[in-house]
Structures are given as C-alpha cells and as structure tokens.
C-alpha cells in the first residue's frame, strides 16, 4: 500500500514537474487574451495558420525594445506564409507601470505593431508555457487544431542589431517548418528580463 502511495506521489510529482514548462514536442494550450485593440485573441481564431511565432515580450525591457523592429519584420514576412507573430506581455503591471495595458496600447501604436500584442492578465499563460523572461519565443506548428512546440528560445544571436546577428533562430526554424522539416536548432538561450509576478 505504502509503495502504491509513494508511486502515486512520484507520478504526481513528475506530472507537476512537466507541467512547469513546455518542452519541444509538447502540445501547447490555446488561450484567450485581450489585445491592445480591446478584442480577445485565441490561436483558434486563425483558421488558416500553419503555426505561430509566440513571443513573450514587454515595454520596459531593453532587450525586448531592441528586438521590436525585428519582430515586426518577422511578422510581415511570415504572416502571409501562415506563421503570424503573437506577442504577449506577461508582466504584472502593478510591479511595472510601463507594462500596463494603457502603455501597451501606446507602444503598439507608436511602433506600428503589425501583430496582436496581448496582455496575460492572470499570468496563467506564461506560467503554462514556462516563459521565464522577455523576450522569450515559442514557435508552434499547427495541425488539425493542435499546436506542437517546435522551438523555444531567442530571436537571433545578437540583441545589438539585426545586421550583427549571425544566427537567425526564428527564421531558420520557421523556414524549416514551412518545408515540412523539423528545425535544426530547437532550443537556445538569451539574456532577458525576468518576468515580474507577485
């Protein structure tokens, strides 16, 4: 009996650990989050999408800001090919005023974001995905309404400038997926701002 209980606990603990963050190959959950235009956005709204470039990002983080123009370019390039960018601000605005919904609207308008910029009000989505910082990218491939995690990590290998980057992780991963191939590089690390939660 004791053994069964401890086995049960072990299984629960393992499930608990896995639930902490997505790994490559996991099925990613859909969400319904408020966009800067006031409307709610879900992955299931995109009927023709082959996948998504989900980027946890925000206003206050200099690394996020450094990548804004590159995120717009990626969205422009891949939206029409079936891989739109979905940006999500995971920070608690009470801890970071510049990441408030109002300031998200301002930033989106000022930069002319071509993609939805969603607020993770309950902070459940970033926790479910296992995002730890901004910017933090999750590339999903979509088949029959199911979203598979194909890549987790950085946008490219140089925050200082697109022209200085020598590895373009998102581009390479999405290009591979568009050819029905698996990305060569599936996880990368980058410096980012830790996500603020209470």
């Amino acid at each position: 009996m004791k053994r069964i209980i401890s086995l049960g606990l072990f299984i629960l603990a393992t499930i608990g650990l896995n639930a902490q963050s997505y790994q490559i190959g996991d099925k990613a959950a859909d969400f319904k989050l408020k966009n800067v235009d006031g409307k709610y956005v879900s992955l299931s709204d995109y009927k023709d999408a082959k996948g998504f470039i989900v980027i946890f990002t925000c206003n206050h983080c200099p690394f996020s800001v450094a990548y804004e123009d590159r995120i717009i370019k990626l969205d422009r390039k891949y939206k029409t090919k079936g891989f739109p960018v979905i940006a999500i601000n995971p920070n608690d605005p009470e801890l970071f005023e510049s990441d408030s919904f109002e300031n998200m609207i301002k930033r989106s308008n000022k930069k002319g974001f071509t993609f939805p910029y969603l607020i993770d009000e309950t902070q459940d989505v970033y926790r479910k995905y296992g995002a730890t910082k901004t910017p933090h990218v999750f590339i999903l491939s979509t088949k029959n309404g199911k979203h598979t995690v194909e890549y987790i990590g950085a946008i490219d290998n140089n925050y200082k400038g697109a022209d200085q980057a020598t590895k373009h992780y998102i581009k390479d991963a999405v290009d591979a997926l568009l050819q029905n191939k698996k990305p060569m590089v599936t996880t990368t690390k980058a410096i980012g701002c830790s996500i603020k939660s209470k």
């Binding site: 206050h60 730890t132 910082k133 950085a154 290998n157 140089n158 690390k189 410096i191 980012g192 830790s194």
Partner: protein, 164 residues
C-alpha cells in the same frame, strides 16, 4: 618649502590616480571573463548578473554591498557583472554607482552571442536576470532569480563550513 609643496602635489596626484583607478569599469567578452567562474582557491566568489534598468536587480544590490561589508574579514569576492549596453556606459555606471553607493567591483560583459556563453555559466540558467552564482572551488550554488540577504549569507556560510 618648495620640496614639501611638490611632495604634497605628488601625494595628491597619487591619491587621485588611485581614486580613478578604483572606479575604472572594464568591459569583457565572455572568453575574457570565463576564468572568473573557475578559480580554484580559498576565496568564495559571489557573482551577480544585473543591469541598471533591471528593477529586481537594483533592489537586491544593497544585499551584495552588505555581504561585502559583513564578510570583510572572510575571503569573499563580490563581482557585479553588468549586462547594460548603449552609449556612455562607463560614465552611466559610475554615476549609478555613486548614487547607489555601490562599492563592489563592477565589470561589463559585452557578448551578444548569449546562447553560447549562458550555458557556460550554468546549465540551469536560461538567461533571465537577475542571476547569482556563488562558488568556492568545486562547490557552487546558483540563484536564477532575485535573492535575499539571508540566502546569500547562508549559501556563503555553507560553502565555508563544508570546506572546514
């Protein structure tokens, strides 16, 4: 008389030079900085990754200052690795350091190819700052989040205790 004035000026010059020297902030790439993470001696190294714009990082800086003072009689070295970037960085860091009364050594890590070097710092770290590495020889503890004074002190004590 003339001699003593010259002597005074010399002393003044030496002391100001020393002052400037103490505030010099060097910039490294990871290859240059890497030995810092692998010293084999009787010193406990407390290495904090931070940036001036990073709120939780700035919040915990006083704990590192307090550690430096409270462990002044122990072999402890606190190094603050700044990941700031942009124009006039050294000047901005020096201003910040004065304002916040930070006396620990500050170095700048300027190495954008983070995917390569983050793994070398620690496998568990995914690059979110703040992050702190405490090590003495082969004993190591890593905090991939904000730390408290108590956590720093306990970690340092544990390392010193284990080696006795």
């Amino acid at each position: 008389m003339k001699f003593s004035v010259q002597f005074f000026l010399l002393i003044l010059l030496l002391s100001t030079t020393k002052l400037v020297e103490a505030q010099e902030i060097k910039t490294y790439n990871f290859n240059e900085l890497e030995p810092l993470f692998h010293y084999q001696n009787d010193t406990t190294y407390v290495i904090n990754f931070w940036a001036m714009w990073c709120k939780p990082c700035v919040e915990e800086l006083p704990y590192f200052e307090a550690i430096r003072k409270d462990y002044a009689d122990k072999k402890i070295k606190v190094i603050l690795v700044s990941l700031d970037f942009g124009k006039n960085l050294e000047e901005r860091l020096n201003k910040f350091r004065k304002l916040r009364k930070v006396n620990a050594e500050i170095v700048v890590l300027d190495d954008p190819d983070a995917d390569t070097w983050i793994r070398k710092v620690d496998e568990k770290w995914d690059g979110a700052i703040p992050a702190t590495i405490i090590y003495k020889n082969d004993k190591k503890e890593v905090f991939t989040r904000q730390v408290s004074y108590k956590e720093l002190a306990e970690s340092i004590d544990k390392m010193n205790h284990q080696s006795n």
